[in-house]
Structures are given as C-alpha cells and as structure tokens.
C-alpha cells in the first residue's frame, strides 16, 4: 500500500472548461490537510512504463476529500490523463514543493496569470480574499474562450481584469501591460505581485514589477524526474549574492522570489 504522501486518488469529475483545457476532481482516502497555494502534486498513471515519468500538476483547489487540477493538454502525459474516465484511479504524491507566502498585514496584492498559469494562482486568490487582503487579478489569455477561472474569481468578489491577445475581451495586448498600468495607478503602498504563466510573460512581468520596487513571487514549471529533490533534473539558475547556483524547482521552488530568477538561462 502507498504510504506517506503518495496515495491513490480516484477521478470523480472531469470537465473541458476551455478548448483542450480540463478541470478534474480527484478524491483520496487520506487527503492532505494543509496545502499552501502554489504547491504541486506528482501524478502517475499506475503501472505504465511509457510515458515513464510522473507529471507535476499544481493543486488548483482543495476539498475535504481531495483536490482539483486544471490543466492544458500539451503532450502525451496530459493527453492520456485527459482521456481517463471518471472512476479511474491514479497515484498522487502531494503536496510537494513550497508555495506562495501571503503578504504582511496591511499590504495589497496583484495576482497576474497567463493562460493555464491560473491553475497555480486560484488557491492563492482564495487565501488572499479570506485574509481580507485587497487584491486585483489580472488574467491574460489568447482569446475570451480561454479565460479560465472567471466565475470562481468573481464568486470570491475579487476584481478581475482581462487581457486577450486577439482583443476579443478586455485589454487588447499583454497582461504585463495591464500590470504596469495597475501598478502605476496604485497610490497607497506598493502591492505584492504574484505570477504564474508562460516564461516570457513572467520574465516581462518581473521587469515591470521590479522597476516599481514591487516584491514579486513567481511559480515556475519545469520537466521533473522525481519531484522529491533527488534526481536534480529540474534545476534552474538562481542568483545568490554574487554567485549563480542551480536550485531544484520541485523542492526549493516552484515559487521563487522573481528578483533572483535568472530568466536568460531558461530554455
């Protein structure tokens, strides 16, 4: 029997929420009691040797009996998961990695998501709302059909600003342009910025935010082997004083202070 944080989970609901984007609810016997927003799970379609490795998915939402994931089909692993029927059983090791830290009392927050990156941010938005941190969510998508988590965020009463690549809704352009505007319009104290999305978006956002001295946390993703800090396969270069050192996304991340991430090295 699985022990520790590696447990069986049963798919109890599945929904295609946008083209090629799936929301899946999973139930397990011993769900994790405490999950930090931004933490992830490592999912295995049991007994398969091809594809061989587990896949990391962020914990999108939590329930008393399990959790939800929200993912885009990008390759064989996510494709096979999307084809799994309700009732199928998978294995998940969770919660893994370190999550977002909530800002100090009296702060405000700006949460910036790009595409399916919203999956890493919803739980954070929920915690910020619960902690009464004044928060604005900026969401970038390729078009209005790809705007994720809209009703969930609206249900929390958190203001949502949308940017689309094709202009089909909200700001016609990049979500980082929205972020610059919102940061410039903020007159009180400097907001804390949280982000997850495509690497170019997070890199651009880091520039926008650090130019305005806004503390910024980003959730990175990478190919992973073990998810437990052992294989050293998921490292990214991180600035430490004058040096650069490789840090593991799975245990030292996935959330990093944006100012120490060396984006130029990312492939």
């Amino acid at each position: 029997m699985p022990t520790g944080r590696d447990t069986e989970a049963r798919i109890v609901a599945k929904r295609e929420v946008a083209p090629n984007h799936f929301e899946m609810r999973l139930a397990c016997d011993a769900p994790a009691t405490e999950v930090e927003p931004g933490q992830f799970l490592h999912l295995w379609l049991p007994e398969r040797v091809d594809p061989l490795l587990r896949r990391p998915y962020t914990v999108y939402r939590t329930h008393d009996d399990g959790f939800d994931i929200l993912f885009q089909v990008v390759g064989r692993g996510s494709g096979l998961l999307a084809q799994c029927d309700v009732g199928a059983t998978v294995r998940v090791a969770w919660p893994l990695g370190g999550g977002f830290a909530l800002p100090p009392d009296g702060s405000t927050a700006i949460v910036v998501g790009g595409g399916v990156g919203m999956a890493s941010l919803y739980l954070l938005i929920e915690r910020l709302a619960r902690a009464h941190v004044p928060t604005q969510v900026l969401l970038g998508a390729r078009s209005r059909d790809y705007v994720l988590c809209r009703s969930e965020i609206e249900a929390l009463g958190v203001p949502l600003h949308i940017a689309t690549d094709d202009g089909s809704e909200g700001h016609h352009g990049f979500v980082t342009e929205l972020a610059a505007t919102v940061l410039d319009e903020t007159e009180t104290n400097t907001p804390h910025v949280y982000a997850c999305g495509p690497t170019p978006m997070m890199q651009a956002l880091t520039k926008v935010a650090t130019e305005r001295d806004a503390p910024t946390q980003v959730a990175l993703e990478n190919r992973m082997g073990c998810g437990l800090g052992v294989c050293l396969g998921c490292v990214v270069p991180i600035r430490a004083d004058e040096d650069v050192s490789y840090k593991r996304v799975c245990v030292e991340g996935p959330v990093f202070d944006a100012r120490v991430v060396i984006w130029e090295y990312r492939v």
Binding site: V49, R223, L228, V230, V267
Partner: protein, 304 residues
Amino acid sequence: MTDLSVNIGGMSLKNPVMTASGTFGYGSEYAEFVDLNRLGAVGLKSITVEPREGNAPPRIAETEAGMLNSIGLQNVGIDAFISDKLPYLKQFDTRTLVNLSGRTVADYVELCGRLDGTEGVHGLELNVSCPNVDSGGMEFGVDASMLGALVEACRGATTLPLIVKLSPNVTSVVDMARVCESAGADGISLINTLLGMAINVETRRAELSRGMGGLSGPALKPVAVRMVWQVYNAVSLPIIGMGGISTTEDALEFIIAGASAIAVGTANFVNPRTTMEVVDGLESYFRRHEIPNLAALRGTCIVG
C-alpha cells in the same frame, strides 16, 4: 524459511535489494516512503572531492519507456557528505555503498582514502561510467589500461569492499570486468546509463543542454540483463545488476542472469515504494518456488 541474505565482496546484505546511485539522494529524501531498515544496501549519489554545480538545464528528457539525464555529477563534495549526509544513515540497519567520481586517479585515491575506516561506510563503488562530464567519468570505464591502473590504485587506498560500476558504452563489457577482477576489485555493478540522445524536431534542438545524456529506465533492461549474463559467465566477481528494474520480475531476471544483488534506479522516481515492493515480491517468489536461498537461483538461466 527463505534466506535472502547475500555477501557482495565482503559487504553482507540482509537481502539483495539496493538503490542505484543518483536515484535515491542520500537516503533521507525517501524515508517517508521506504523503510530503510528493509533495504539490503543504499547506493548513494556520486561524490567528488570538491562540490560540483552540475550541468546547465535542460538536464532530463523523457524517451520511450525511459529517460535521458545529463546531471553532471552535481553533489556537495566529500567534506559535506561526511559531515552532513552520512550521519543520517547511521541510524538504520542497512549498508551504504558510496559512489565515487573523479577527474584523475589521484581524485579517486583521495576519496577512497578519506572514506576508508569512516564509520557508516560499508563499501565503495567507483563510478567510471558517467557519460555527462568533460574529463574523467566514462574515460576510465572505456579504456582497459586506464581502468586497470585506476582500480589497482584504489585497491591500494582502501580495505573497504571495492565495487566498480562499469559503462555499457564499450565493445566488450566482459573485457572490462576481467580487468577489474585482476586489478583487485571485489565486485562489479552493471550497468550505468547507455549514452543516448533525443532531438526536438520542431526546433531541431537537442533535448539536453549537452546534446548527449545517459539513458535509463525500462528501455535499458534487456541490454543490462545481457551484460550481467555475459559477465557472470566470464568472471567470478559478484555482480550488482541494475538497469530498468521496476518490478519483482525484473529483479528476478537479473538474478537468474547471474546478479548477486540488484539495484532499483529510475523506478524510484516513478514509484518511490518500488524497493519495498521488490523485497516483498522476492520473499514471496522464493517461498512459492521453495528456493532456499539466493545462490540456488543465481545464474540459473537456461539458454537453448
């Protein structure tokens, strides 16, 4: 009563199930999934004289039923290993096999000397087969005269059981094993990763930062079983078999081919409980077939 104990060149194991170097950290990372007391031995991540940062990402790529890695021996170095990593393992009733890598013979000799007599170290495994570094590494494992000189020098530097982990990237693995035997090695680990490569056809870029990397996982298994069988039939040294072991059946295949012990590697990443499942599975197989001990099964492969 099934007796799964085995002696590997002076290192006595309660059962033949080990972990492969580089896939189990320094033990503590897997403690919540694995009862380390139930492992025959823990094979530890390769250690070098100085700490190493390792290679630039991307370092891993998935391939058909396997994966490529190019980690580049990232490790904390011998000093931090002895002071920070080794003490944790002393609390467990298991054996430790410390994997050593170097650029020169002098590096290996220094490491052997430092660990000789160090409490908590039960055996040394010379890594002469890492495909992911510029100097040293696999060089030693693919040149018979360099390999012989290295093993002889290390033999002179330690009284600990000395295992040599051979590279599959050679024309004749049997020749390399014979060299180790005459140079005074106590055992052979077979096999390290097979040199491989994968390319993204859209970008035409190699999947790994250094182009090539080491192939591991189930895809490797038939190659590993073949090499264990060849070496078993040519030398008398005990063999630690590894390469794609994910199940009890995989482990049995290696033992029947001639391995005295087996190591689980990449499967630890996928299913962290693999070693425990294999220990249980072996016990049940030996009972079911009424085989009294490992020696009665080892090398019993029927061909033809």
